[in-house]
Amino acid sequence: MLIPTDEKELADAISSAKGPLSIRGGNTRGFAADGTPLATTGLSGISLYEPGALTLVAAAGTPIDDIQDALAAEGQRLPFEPIDHRPILNSQGTPTIGGVVAANVSGPRRIQAGACRDSLIGVRFVDGQGTIIKNGGRVMKNVTGYDLVKLMAGSYGTLGVISEVAFKVLPAASSAACVLIEGLTDANAIKAMSRALGSPFDVSGAAHVPVGLDGTPVTMIRLEGFEKSVQYRANELKNILDEFGDINIELDPANVAKGWAWVRDATPFVGTNGDIWRISVKPSDAPELVAKIAPQSHLYDWGGGLIWVEVASGTDVRAAMRNIQGHTTRIRGDGHAPKFHPEAPLLAKINRELRQKFDPRGILNPSLMG
């Protein structure tokens, strides 16, 4: 395994590579390709953190926990609430910030605060030839040149190995509440979440659990902010959602946090053995799609825009997605179907050509993305 300890060594490791490299941070997310392992864990540490400017810069191999701890000490956080893949994948290791970026890992707050790529304001990376490239920077508004920062987020190491990342961070909410509706069908749950998300009350999480801890369905809507404001908005939401059913408001911060960590980490699928797929669609398309897939179990996040499904191993859920706009990624399981959603021909061509430009030898996580 190659473990460079600075950016220069990383560049050398890549330029002198003779064959495919399998790029990884902590290797917790199940996206390892074939090839000589190259880990970024030797590039570690927060190099700049200015709470008053809401900006943080860190080396790619920095453990995500270190970053979250540093932010928490100043009452701030990463806005996009990255999932920890270890429980559902049963993987070991320490997740890194570079891995989060490379996989554009975004959790429940995606619907309010954006995806990982929306908070990312700068990157440094090494392309497939060993060239060090910088894009973006440490300021949160920047339109100088093309936005390769976004291109790198979610490129799964196929365009370059990220060595440094810069983020716009946000104040952590001092208080949170969860509005809970019991017993909804999937279709009604989506309607309720849509109404909440279409309200002025600044919802920061909307999930539906078809089989809750006590066996009945529960719809969860999160509010965050200052205590009085959270309580006010929770009550307002209760009023506008009244017709949907019995509504409870959870105000205990520990319970709210626990509930959303449970959703974030797709906990219903921990310890099961089917394949897991993550599907992104327009929320109103979600219930019908789920009915078509008929999964063993499922979970809606992002107001229904994100569906987690578990199916018998080897099942290709994409067959059900014909005529539905969206895409799906296999998170767990092997099967014949590609991990990532096949692109329309012209888009596939653009993707392929971009990868060729950045990695002409095709050595960075080859064939991971297509």
Binding site: T144, K150, H341
Partner: protein, 477 residues
């Protein structure tokens, strides 16, 4: 500013080009007589002008595709244009190029409140996107000050921001999908009503690519429900340093205002003379706006005021009504006009780390003395996006050049302290030749290979963004 010499071969085939364009577009959509093409000779950066070879105004994606196909076959450069409000010369034509304006494509194609998006043709103006949904309580968040005029097309190309982007983000954070015509006439759909399209984030790189990767004809935009209300507080301070420290303390306290606007003395004085908003006589002024219910607003403003008190403000005026809010915003909203009353001005757009604010303002003051040109600063303080307005006299020989030199120095200063050349206006031609101050040749090469993929012949909006010395080889071949 230097532009390449127009290609004589292209100039020579104008009549053949026009003939072919007329085969795919109605007569009134092809503008080729010299007195009419003049309308398109510049954008919001009026210092540079050059009428195009001709201009076309297609009415559909199919017509855009037909035009691009012809231009691609004939090797004629194309400059996409929305409303022409770019302050960076992004839509500046060259004499051998076709202006492709999307102004006639302004329909709303789909409105979906349940899934919270609208799909529009990109010639639609920014404000009229909100206009189409506001009766139902919704709005489109990015709000450039030019929103009455500028089109979604230009917003996407420049990744435009606005006063409220501290909370809602800029265009790229609110754009879910596009339909785009590539230079060879093929049409691609990227993203859509679902979140985070599959594959590489092409949407992310198209947004902000200044019309160099394709012509965007349709956009899927995220819409939000309007907040219950919004009100600002106005605060005046004795020095820029103190105002800067106050901004930082507000952010550190965990409040996230929707806007934090900063004005310095020259701008305060100019707006007072122009609009008479009743601003205090002070060195620096902040307008901080928050949103929510009445009670939520009061609570947040109380907290913000208590932070401001620690910095001994010379004035602290918390709005209690829509009327008072309008008065607080009046001066800020007329700032550009007010400066324009004094003289011509050049508006810069560098961004700096917020912590560098006092230092940068001091250095700008020194540069102002050194060059003998007055500068006013009015900007989005929460995100460090500066807008120094340099006053000059366009009719005075050498003043524009002096102003440009000073502007370049200020932008270099922004880069030096860890910031960038442009926060929301784009590079265009204006900042093109400063790109080497921010990027190395390899950094720029990595951007140019993206253009190679989308537009291998480099026909779309050439001579912009990249220094000519960096792109000339590609443009020649």
């Amino acid at each position: 500013m230097e532009m390449p010499i127009p290609n004589a071969d292209i100039l020579a085939k104008k009549s053949r080009l026009v003939e072919r364009l007329l085969q795919v577009l109605p007569n009134e959509a092809v503008i080729h007589s010299e007195n009419e093409t003049k309308v398109y000779e510049c954008d919001g950066l009026t210092a540079y002008r050059c009428p195009p070879l001709c201009a076309v105004l297609p009415a559909s994606t199919e017509e855009v595709a037909a035009v691009l196909k012809i231009c691609h076959e004939m090797n004629v450069p194309v400059v996409p244009r929305g409303s022409g409000t770019s302050l960076a010369g992004g839509a500046l034509p060259t004499a051998d190029s076709v202006i492709l304006g999307v102004a006639r494509m302004s329909e709303v194609l789909e409105t979906d409140y349940e899934n919270r998006f609208v799909r529009v043709q990109t010639g639609r103006t920014n404000l009229s996107v909100t206009g189409a949904v506001e009766e139902d309580g919704f709005f489109y968040a990015p709000d450039p000050s030019s929103q009455l005029a500028c089109a979604i097309a230009g917003n996407i190309a420049m990744n435009s921001g606005g006063a409220h982007c501290l909370k809602y983000g800029v265009t790229t954070n609110n754009l879910m999908g596009v339909r785009m015509v590539m230079m060879d006439g093929s049409v691609v759909d990227i993203g859509g009503a679902h979140l985070d399209a599959s594959g590489l984030d092409l949407l992310g790189v198209i947004c902000g690519s200044e019309g160099q990767l394709g012509v965007v004809t349709e956009a899927t935009l995220r819409i939000l429900h309007k907040p219950e209300g919004a009100r600002p507080v106005l605060m005046g301070f004795d020095s820029n340093e103190v105002a800067g420290a106050c901004v930082s303390d507000i952010i550190k306290a965990g409040v996230l205002p929707v806007a934090i606007e900063f004005m310095d003395r020259p701008v305060i004085e100019a707006t007072e003379a122009f609009a008479g908003a009743g601003y205090p006589d002070c060195e620096a002024l902040l307008i901080v706006e928050v949103e929510g219910s009445d009670q939520e607003i009061d609570d947040q403003l109380d907290l913000i005021c208590s932070i401001a008190e620690r910095h001994n403000p010379v004035e602290l005026r918390q709005s209690k009504s829509a009327d008072e809010s309008a008065r607080i915003w009046l001066g800020r909203k007329s700032a550009f006009g007010a400066m324009g009353q004094i003289n011509d001005y050049m508006c810069l757009d560098g961004t700096i780390p917020v912590s560098e604010l006092p230092h940068v303002l001091r250095r700008i003051g020194e540069l102002s003395d050194q060059y003998g040109l007055k500068v006013g600063n009015v900007f989005h303080a929460g995100d460090g996006n500066m807008h120094p307005l340099i006053l000059f006299d366009a009719n005075k020989e050498g003043d524009l050049e002096l102003c440009e030199a000073m502007g370049a120095d200020i932008l270099r200063l922004c880069v030096e302290v860890g910031g960038c050349l442009t926060g929301e206006h784009g590079v265009g031609v204006e900042k093109r030749d400063l790109m080497f101050d921010q990027f190395t040749a390899t950094d720029l090469e990595a951007q140019m290979v993206v253009k190679d993929v989308f537009d291998p012949k480099w026909l779309l909006n050439p001579s912009k963004v990249f220094p000519l010395s960096a792109s000339e080889e590609r443009m020649a071949s």
